[in-house]
């Protein structure tokens, strides 16, 4: 043994010893003292709470997949709660050792490496910060990793049914390994797919019978994930990288939640991340398909492990424990072929994912203004490391797939598919971005020159068609009034015959008909002219709207009526203490009617309410009237005190979702397809103004 070999041996032992000490101190020993993490929401905890008086927590409902709960169920057999943590820690330790052995064997080069390489690799595993973060609270990912590697090992031995069962169990722990089934399918491992599907079906049935889906906090959390994909700094997926870069952090040493200024940036960032994740899944799905006949399944496995922690809409830092598998495979192979650049790249990736010194040590040195874990997350260093590892792995995959790629590329069909997918990706980006680009052009405001003009002695009465092409308004025509239709893009105005003394016009959903009130009747008239048709008697009615199901809703003295094909039906009787009802409209569910209660002796301002047609329950929304829900912008547009305001609104929950912001000074307003028309208040001005792209006007910043 020469001097360099001795030095390498000492270094290898040092790395192993460092990793072991770090792992035992920061991971193993704390894990034997208490369990938190995934186990806090595990199924047996309910039974511990019931049968073990010493169990410290209440059951918050079950989380993740059902297999997590069935796998931890045997812990119930332990007589004392304090025994659970050490037993579970030992279980995780066994899973960790098995994972390490299986990953080394999977690399396919274990017989070409000496003990020093394995010592270094083991040391790097044990000092991997995400592993420590995962082990300490007793999270399930280490068991999941062992199951998957065991399944791949079984697959190599052609034990497909056994592999399928293991894949099925792993996939129902947290649903992360679902991509393995796509891979099994394209490799035509039918028995494995069937066995996996069968075990997953069994798990789902067992979960339905024993756990009950109503207590699944994962399902409840899906809505949360859609609204706020990343709540803090500890998430490290492709999507969260986009969200982190779009948001604001506290760099002054305080750990505060991620903030997006303004909030809409989060929506765009989440979509960007999901788009990038979907495209990555597509690209690597194609690459796996191209390699479907390659005997080297280790590289495929490594790619699928990468996808498990990088392509989720959100994740946690300890999910990076899965990076150990691709890292081991790429690192071992680079060592075996003595590829120093590759070893260097992989080690840099490792260091970015897991700095070599425990975070607590760095924090004690006060090198950074915030806790080191947050510093690392702040700059998304683990994501950068994971991307570098992914590139190194992909480089190996491409080198291994030269023959397959050449063969597939020679196929005209494949070339067409690749070009079509690329064009589709660009088209998706364009389609998603164009509406926002249009909005970014800003609002334009124009005064509408109307001939014949509206009456000068009262507020203007008008409506914009849902397609935004036309405006109908009450005009003074000689001694009387009539409805006139103005094509907004041109100066064309046509007054409709048979609409004398008309009031309260509104459009049909297809923009082809106009409803209005005249002489105590509800009538309708085609926009192209023709005689007006009687729809229903409507004594005392003055305002209405036309729902998508062709129902017309109108307000009269007796309350709110609907009329479809038969006689009008009273759906909201007037309550004696209320002021007059007006501006009724059905929300998209058609189970709730929105209307205005006019000012009364008890209230000097009108009030907008939503009332359930099923239960009669009434929800007061805000002060203001003439309220309409604009489905295009998701806002309620209303008038209060001589100004037009708009507020984001959820028509399902009837909740206001943000600030109510003024849009324009006006006493009446109507919206259609991105345009808003408002009428200025007499006697100052009787003109109508059209605001194109009105929501962009609302969000404009005025420093």
């Amino acid at each position: 043994m020469n001097r360099w070999t001795r030095l390498a041996a000492v270094l290898a032992l040092a790395v192993l010893a460092f990793g072991a000490v770090r792992f035992v101190a920061a991971g193993f020993l704390p894990a034997t003292e208490r369990i938190s993490g995934d186990f806090g929401a595990a199924f047996p905890t309910e039974y511990f709470r019931r049968y073990r008086p010493d169990y410290p927590q209440a059951w918050p409902g079950w989380n993740y997949g059902p297999a997590l709960h069935f796998l931890t169920l045997p812990l119930l057999l332990l007589p004392r709660w304090r025994m659970v943590a050490p037993v579970w820690a030992l279980t995780n330790l066994a899973a960790l050792v098995a994972s390490f052995v299986l990953a080394c064997r999977l690399s396919g080069v274990h017989h070409r490496l000496d003990w020093k390489a394995f010592a270094v690799l083991a040391g790097l595993w044990l000092s991997f910060q995400p592993l420590v973060n995962c082990f300490r609270p007793g999270n399930i990912e280490i068991v999941e990793m062992a199951l998957l590697l065991w399944a791949v090992s079984a697959l190599q031995r052609r034990a497909d049914a056994k592999a399928g069962v293991l894949f099925g169990i792993a996939a129902t722990i947290k649903f992360l390994p679902s991509g393995f089934f796509y891979w099994l399918a394209i490799r035509r491992r039918g028995r494995a797919v069937l066995a996996g599907a069968a075990i997953m079906a069994l798990m789902l049935v067992l979960a339905t019978v024993t756990l009950g889906w109503k207590d699944s906090t994962s399902i409840k959390a899906m809505g949360w994930a859609a609204d706020t994909p990343v709540a803090g700094l500890h998430e490290l997926s492709i999507t969260s990288m986009f969200l982190h870069r779009a948001s604001t952090f506290d760099a002054q040493g305080h750990i505060s939640p991620v903030r997006w200024i303004p909030s809409d940036r989060a929506v765009a960032a989440a979509r960007s991340g999901r788009l990038a994740s979907a495209l990555l899944a597509a690209v690597f799905g194609v690459l796996l398909f191209v390699r479907r006949q390659s005997p080297d399944i280790a590289l495929d496995t490594a790619l699928l492990f990468m996808a498990m922690f990088m392509l989720l809409p959100w994740n946690h830092d300890y999910y990076y424990v899965f990076a150990l598998v691709p890292f081991s495979i790429v690192f071992s192979r680079a060592l075996a072929r003595q590829d120093r650049p590759a070893v260097g790249v992989v080690l840099v990736a490792y260091l970015l994912m897991s700095p070599p010194v425990p975070f607590a040590w760095i924090d004690r040195a006060h090198l950074f203004p915030m806790r080191f874990m947050y510093f690392v997350n702040y700059y998304d260093l683990p994501i950068a490391g994971a991307l570098l590892l992914w590139i190194a792995l992909t480089s190996d995959v491409l080198a291994d797939s030269r023959a397959e790629l050449r063969r597939e590329w020679s196929s005209r069909i494949v070339r067409r598919v690749v070009f079509t997918c690329s064009a589709a990706a660009l088209a998706i980006v364009a389609v998603l971005a164009v509406p926002r680009m249009a909005a970014a052009t800003g609002a334009t405001i124009e005064r509408l020159d109307l001939q014949p003009a509206p009456p000068v002695d009262e507020p203007a009465t008008f409506a914009v068609s849902p397609d935004g092409s036309r405006l109908v308004y009450v005009a003074r025509t000689g001694p009387s009034r009539a409805l006139c239709v103005r094509v907004l893009a041109r100066q064309d105005t046509m007054c409709l015959p048979g609409t004398e003394r008309a009031a309260g016009p509104f459009f049909s959903p297809d923009s082809r008909w106009i409803g209005f009130f005249a002489d105590g009747e509800l009538r309708k008239s085609a926009i192209g002219g023709g005689p007006a048709e009687l729809v229903s008697p409507a004594q005392g009615a003055g305002t209405g709207s036309w729902a998508r199901d062709q129902t017309i809703v109108f307000a009269a003295r007796a309350g709110i009526f609907t009329v479809a094909s038969g006689p009008a039906e009273l759906i909201v009787p007037h309550r004696g203490e209320d002021g007059e009802y007006s501006s009724p409209s059905l929300l998209p569910s058609r189970e709730t009617v929105l209307f205005t209660i006019a000012a009364s002796p008890d209230s000097r301002v009108p009030t907008t309410v939503a009332q359930s047609l099923r239960t009669g329950e009434r929800t007061r929304l805000f002060s203001g009237g003439q309220t309409r829900f604009d489905a295009v912008s998701g806002r309620l547009v209303y008038v209060l005190g001589g100004r037009v305001l708009a507020v984001p609104f959820d028509p399902r929950t009837l909740a206001l979702k943000g600030l109510s912001l003024p849009v324009a000074p006006g006493t009446s307003a109507s919206v259609g397809d991105g345009d808003l028309v408002y009428g200025a208040a007499p006697p100052m001005d009787v003109a109508l103004f059209r605001v194109r792209n009105w929501t962009s006007h609302m969000t404009r910043v005025t420093p």
């Binding site: 986009f242 779009a246 604001t248 760099a251 903030r259 997006w260 200024i261 303004p262 909030s263 809409d264 940036r265 979509r271 960007s272 991340g273 788009l275 990038a276 495209l279 990555l280 690209v283 690597f284 690459l287 680079a334 590829d339 650049p341 590759a342 790249v345 991307l387 992914w390 590139i391 190194a392 992909t394 480089s395 491409l398 080198a399 990706a425 660009l426 998603l432 926002r436 209230s603 000097r604 301002v605 805000f622 002060s623 001589g642 100004r643 305001l645 507020v647 206001l656 979702k657 943000g658 600030l659 109510s660 912001l661 003024p662 000074p665 969000t699 404009r700 910043v701 005025t702 420093p703």
Partner: protein, 200 residues
Amino acid sequence: MKLLHFVSACMLVAGPLTCGLAYFAFAAPRQDPGVYLETHSGVYSLPGYRRRADRVGNVYPLTRYSQARGFAFTDVAMKAAVVPDGDVESFFVVGSKAAPFHLAAPSARVYGFILDEVADQVRSDFILLDTRVRQVDPALYEVTSDQMAWRAGNPVYDRYAEVAARTTDHGAALAAMVGLVIDDPGGSTRRLYPVRIGPQ
């Protein structure tokens, strides 16, 4: 590791990320310089009003304010954002190199006042709230006050109740407001960012 494979791998990984970035660049609203309001439901930009700094003490003659740009509103109540449930949490003052709007943020203050929307009058004095200003990053400040919340014991709530009790008109016309006031960096102008809280 062959360079060709490494470059190809970079392209395979970077391509989808670039598509995501391109979408974000086109689709995301920017964090433009200005003042933003954080409520329970999110962070929104606010329109503001400005006037020459000829105030007397802390009294701001609101009817003389006009909006910096846009529509010719003449009074604050007309252009104030309305916060459902009054859950105002923080103001954010965002600047940039081109618009160093944040430079005056350390002297920002939050006031509360009561308006009568119908009579268009201020129905109280201006109440200086306990204000905390915190620099979040070099061009971003958070300005907040525990007294902005709409609850009994806070000055704006109590003053609103007092004004509503003694007014002979109905209280529904009264508007409880909080406003962020900041001087422009030059000191020649000051701006008010009003928000309506309380009953609506």
